[in-house]
C-alpha cells in the first residue's frame, strides 16, 4: 500500500500567521486567552485564544459570489501556505496556460473540516448586518472555497464531527489516497469565533475562567481557540515522481470509533477511545505487545485530546497510562486552547513539526498536575527519540479518532 506522506504545512493560529510562528510559539510556551471583542457576547466567560488582529486576513469578502466568513478566510490562508510549502502550483484558470508538471486537478482532493464553519457570518446577519445578496450561503463552505481557489476537481468534502472533525478529514484524505481516488489531498480544519458556540459552552458550564489547563488539578473546563491548520497529504509515488522538497512525516495509521454513550460526556471506561488508539497504532506498526512501544523506533510522543474538562482528561489519561506508559505528552490545547473542529489538524501539524525537527517542545505550564491524570507532561524541551507520534481527537456524540504519524523514511 502506498505511503501517505505529509509534504506541506500551513497554519494561522493564536500564535500568528504561518508555520514558523507556530513552531516558535510552541517553544516560547507563553500564551493566554483574551476577551472576545464582541459586545453582544452576553455570557459569563467570553474568553478565547484568538488569532491576533494583525494576522486576521482582511479578505477576501467573497469568492465567486459566495460571501465568506472568518472560518473560510482562515482556511484559505492556511491552505495557501501549505500548498506553497508543498511546491504545488494552483491550477490555471480558464484561458490560462497550464504549468508543466502540475498535478492532475481531477486527482487533487480537498478534505477540510469545521465544527461551526462560517456561522459567524450568519450571526452577523441575525444582529443587523445585511447579507450582500439573497443567495443561499451554506454554513460549511470551507473545503469548497479552498477547492475553488486551487482549482481542485477531485473529492471535496467537509466532515463536521465536532472537535474530532479535522482528525476525520485527515483520515478520509488518507483513505482517498489509499483507495486510489486522489494523489494529493489538501486536508485539515478551521474554526473561528462563533458567539453561539461559545455561549452554549458557557451554558454547559464547560469554560475555564482562567485558561485551558489540560490534566491540571485545578482545571475547570476548556477555553476555545481559533485558527486553521492545513496539511498537504500526498501519495509517496506522486511525491517521488515530482521530487518533493520536504517530507514532514507519514500518516501511518488511523483508528475510528464511537462511544454510542452520551451526547456530551465521554464513556467512563474509555473502551472505545482505547480501541481507536490500538487500531491506529496497529495499522502504523507502532504497537508493542502491551501497547505502544516507547523510545527509539517506537512511539515518541502523544498529542492528546485533553481539553481541560474534568472527566475527559481522566478517562484519556487512564487509557494512555495503560497503553503507552511513560510516553511524554505534548498539549497543543494548553498552548492555543481548544480549536474545536480544527483541533485534530493542529495536533497533526504539531506532530509533523515534532517529527521533522526531532524535538519535543516544552509544555505550557498549567499548574499542579492532577494525580488522577498519571501522564507525563514535560516542562522542558527534549530531543524526540521515537519514530512515531500519536494524535487523539474526541468530540461530542462520542466521536473518536486516533492518528499515528511516523517519521519520514530516510
Amino acid at each position: 500500500m502506498d505511503d501517505v506522506l505529509v509534504t506541506g504545512l500551513g497554519a494561522l493560529s493564536p500564535l500568528g500567521a504561518g508555520v514558523d510562528a507556530f513552531w516558535r510559539g510552541m517553544h516560547k510556551a507563553d500564551t493566554a486567552p483574551t476577551r472576545v471583542p464582541d459586545p453582544l457576547a452576553r455570557m459569563d466567560h467570553p474568553l478565547m485564544y484568538l488569532v491576533p488582529e494583525a494576522d486576521v486576513p482582511d479578505g477576501p469578502e467573497e469568492q465567486d459570489g459566495l460571501p465568506l466568513g472568518r472560518g473560510s478566510r482562515f482556511a484559505l490562508a492556511a491552505a495557501r501556505e501549505a500548498v506553497a510549502d508543498a511546491g504545488l502550483t494552483v491550477v490555471p484558470g480558464p484561458g490560462e496556460r497550464p504549468e508543466a508538471g502540475g498535478p492532475d486537478p481531477r486527482r487533487v482532493a480537498v478534505a477540510l473540516s469545521s465544527g461551526m464553519g462560517d456561522t459567524d457570518l450568519h450571526e452577523g446577519w441575525w444582529t443587523g448586518e445585511a447579507p450582500a445578496s439573497g443567495r443561499w450561503a451554506p454554513p460549511f463552505p470551507l473545503a469548497s472555497v479552498v477547492g475553488g481557489w486551487f482549482g481542485a476537481q477531485g473529492v471535496n468534502t467537509c466532515v463536521s464531527n465536532a472537535c474530532a472533525a479535522s482528525g476525520y478529514a485527515l483520515s478520509v484524505g488518507a483513505d482517498l489516497i489509499r483507495s486510489g481516488e486522489a494523489d494529493v489531498v489538501i486536508a485539515g480544519g478551521a474554526e473561528a469565533y462563533s458567539r453561539v458556540a461559545l455561549a452554549c459552552f458557557n451554558r454547559l458550564g464547560a469554560i475555564d475562567p482562567e485558561r485551558c489547563r489540560p490534566f491540571a488539578v485545578e482545571r475547570r473546563g476548556t477555553v476555545f481557540g481559533e485558527g486553521a491548520a492545513v496539511l498537504v497529504l500526498e501519495s509517496a509515488a506522486h511525491a517521488r515522481a515530482r521530487g518533493v522538497r520536504t517530507v514532514y512525516g507519514r500518516l501511518a495509521g488511523t483508528g475510528w470509533s464511537c462511544d454510542a454513550y452520551h451526547a456530551t460526556a465521554p464513556e467512563p471506561s474509555g473502551e472505545q477511545i482505547e480501541r481507536a488508539m490500538r487500531e491506529a497504532l496497529r495499522e502504523a506498526g507502532a504497537e508493542a505487545e502491551s501497547g505502544g512501544e516507547s523510545g527509539s523506533g517506537g512511539l515518541g510522543f502523544v498529542i492528546p485530546h485533553g481539553t481541560g474538562t474534568a472527566l475527559n482528561d481522566v478517562v484519556e489519561s487512564r487509557v494512555l497510562d495503560a497503553l503507552t506508559p511513560g510516553t511524554p505528552l505534548y498539549s497543543v490545547k494548553a498552548l492555543i486552547g481548544h480549536t474545536g473542529g480544527a483541533a485534530g489538524a493542529f495536533a497533526a501539524l504539531a506532530a509533523g513539526l515534532v517529527l521533522h525537527h526531532r524535538t519535543l517542545p516544552p509544555n505550557v505550564p498549567v499548574g499542579e498536575p492532577d494525580p488522577e491524570c498519571a501522564v507525563p507532561l514535560p516542562s522542558g524541551s527534549a530531543p524526540m527519540t521515537g519514530a512515531y507520534g500519536l494524535v487523539n481527537a474526541y468530540a461530542f456524540g462520542g466521536n473518536n479518532i486516533s492518528l499515528v504519524f511516523g517519521e519520514a523514511a530516510a
Binding site: 446577519w125 441575525w126 465536532a162 453561539v196 475510528w256 462511544d259 456530551t264
Partner: protein
C-alpha cells in the same frame, strides 16, 4: 481495521420523513424525544422506518463495533442557532436551554442515532454544500470498504431555514435514511435487496463552470464519475438532475443535454429519455430523496441522480434497483471484481414491513 473489507453492499431498508404533518410522538414515541431538535427527530424517524423495512436483525447480526452511520446535512442547525443567538444577544447565555445547548454542534443531530442503535464503528456528519447526503453514502461505503464496519445507516436530514435567511424560500425539511449491508448477509437472513447505490463526488470550480468550456468540463467529470462507478456506456441510463441556476448548475445541466453538447452529452452514453430536472433546495436532502425514489423503480433500469452546488461541489449516484443485480453500482472496478455473485433474493422477503415495529437495539428510552 475492524474486519475484512466489505464489498457488494445492497440497500435493504429505506425510510423517509417529510416535515409536513410530522409528529414525533407518532413516529418515535411519546417519551424521550420532545426536546430533540426537529432535524434530529426526522433522522431518527427515517432510520426507524428504514430499519423496520430491513428487518429487526439488520444491525444486530453484527456487533456494535461493526455498525457505522453517516448523515449529511447543511441546514439542520441554522434555525436553532438563530434562536440561540437571539437568546444570547437579548438576555444572555444563561437563558439557553441546557437540553438543547449541545446542539450548537452539528454532529449532535446524528449522534442520538448512535446511542439508540449502539453504533460504535463510526458516526460521521458531512456538511458539504448540497452533496453532503450523497457524501454520507459515499464516505460511509468507503469506510466499510476499508474495514471500519460491516453495516451502514446513512442518509440526510434538514430543517427549514429561519425566515429572512438567504435561501429560506428554498428550505428543505425532512430526512431520508438507508440501511446498507453485504448482499450475502441480506440473503442469509432472508431480507430483500432493494438495489445498489454507488456515489462519486467531484468538484467543478465555479470559474471553470462559468467559462465557455464549462459544459465540457462538467461532462468530462461526469463521464469519469460514471466510469468509476462501473456504468457501461451502452446501458440505458435514466437521469434525475437536482440542480440550481448557478453557473455550476447550468454547466452540469448542459453536460446532460444532448443538444447543448452536440450529441456528446456524457460521452455518447444512452439516456432513457430527457434528464428529469428537479430544482435544488437549500440543503442536502433532495438528492438523497431522489435516490430513495429511484430504488423503488422497476428492476433493472440503472438510474443516475446528479447534483451540484453553486460552490462547486458535485456528485453522481448510480442506482441499480431491484434484487437481480447484474451490474453492481458504486464499487471501484477492483472491488467489484472481488464481490460475490449476486443471487436473487429469496421469495417472501418482506420489503414492505410496516414502520411501527419496535426500534431495534434501543438501549435508553429517555433523554439524559
Amino acid at each position: 481495521m475492524n474486519s475484512e473489507p466489505v464489498v457488494g453492499l445492497v440497500v435493504t431498508g429505506i425510510g423517509t420523513v417529510d416535515a409536513d404533518g410530522f409528529d414525533f410522538r407518532t413516529a418515535l414515541g411519546r417519551h424521550g424525544y420532545k426536546y430533540l431538535p426537529a432535524a434530529s427527530q426526522y433522522f431518527l424517524a427515517a432510520a426507524k422506518r428504514a430499519l423496520a423495512q430491513a428487518g429487526p436483525d439488520a444491525l444486530e447480526a453484527v456487533g456494535p463495533e461493526q455498525r457505522g452511520a453517516a448523515v449529511g446535512t447543511n441546514s439542520a442547525a441554522v434555525a436553532l442557532h438563530h434562536r440561540m443567538d437571539r437568546t444570547v444577544t437579548e438576555t444572555g447565555a444563561g437563558d439557553l436551554s441546557p437540553v438543547t445547548a449541545p446542539y450548537f454542534s452539528i454532529n449532535l443531530f446524528g449522534s442520538r442515532l448512535a446511542t439508540e442503535h449502539d453504533l460504535k464503528g463510526f458516526n460521521l456528519t458531512l456538511t458539504s454544500p448540497r452533496v453532503a447526503g450523497l457524501e454520507a453514502l459515499q464516505t460511509g461505503q468507503r469506510a466499510l470498504a476499508s474495514g471500519r464496519a460491516r453495516r451502514l445507516l446513512a442518509g440526510a436530514t434538514e430543517e427549514a431555514l429561519p425566515e429572512g435567511e438567504p435561501g429560506a424560500g428554498l428550505s428543505e425539511a425532512g430526512a431520508v435514511a438507508l440501511v446498507l449491508e453485504p448482499e450475502p448477509a441480506a440473503r442469509s437472513r432472508g431480507a430483500a435487496a432493494l438495489g445498489r447505490v454507488g456515489v462519486r463526488s467531484f468538484f467543478l470550480p465555479p470559474k471553470a463552470a462559468a467559462s465557455a468550456e464549462g459544459a465540457e468540463h462538467a461532462a468530462a467529470l461526469l463521464r469519469d464519475a460514471l466510469d468509476a462507478l462501473g456504468h457501461r456506456p451502452d446501458r440505458p441510463l435514466a437521469v434525475t438532475a437536482v440542480l440550481d441556476g448557478s453557473p455550476v448548475g447550468a454547466a452540469m445541466a448542459a453536460a446532460l443535454d444532448e443538444k447543448a453538447l452536440g450529441g456528446r452529452a456524457l460521452g455518447g452514453r444512452a439516456l432513457v429519455g430527457q434528464p428529469e430536472r428537479v430544482p435544488a433546495g437549500a440543503g442536502a436532502l433532495e438528492p438523497v430523496a431522489r435516490v430513495a425514489a429511484a430504488l423503488g423503480a422497476p428492476e433493472g433500469h440503472p438510474h443516475a441522480v446528479v447534483t451540484a452546488a453553486a460552490e462547486g461541489n458535485a456528485a453522481v449516484c448510480l442506482i441499480t434497483p431491484g434484487a437481480r443485480l447484474d451490474a453492481p453500482a458504486g464499487a471501484d472496478a477492483s472491488a467489484v471484481a472481488e464481490a460475490p455473485a449476486i443471487p436473487e433474493a429469496p421469495a417472501g422477503a418482506d420489503a414492505s414491513a410496516g414502520s411501527e415495529q419496535p426500534m431495534s437495539g434501543r438501549r435508553r428510552g429517555s433523554d439524559r
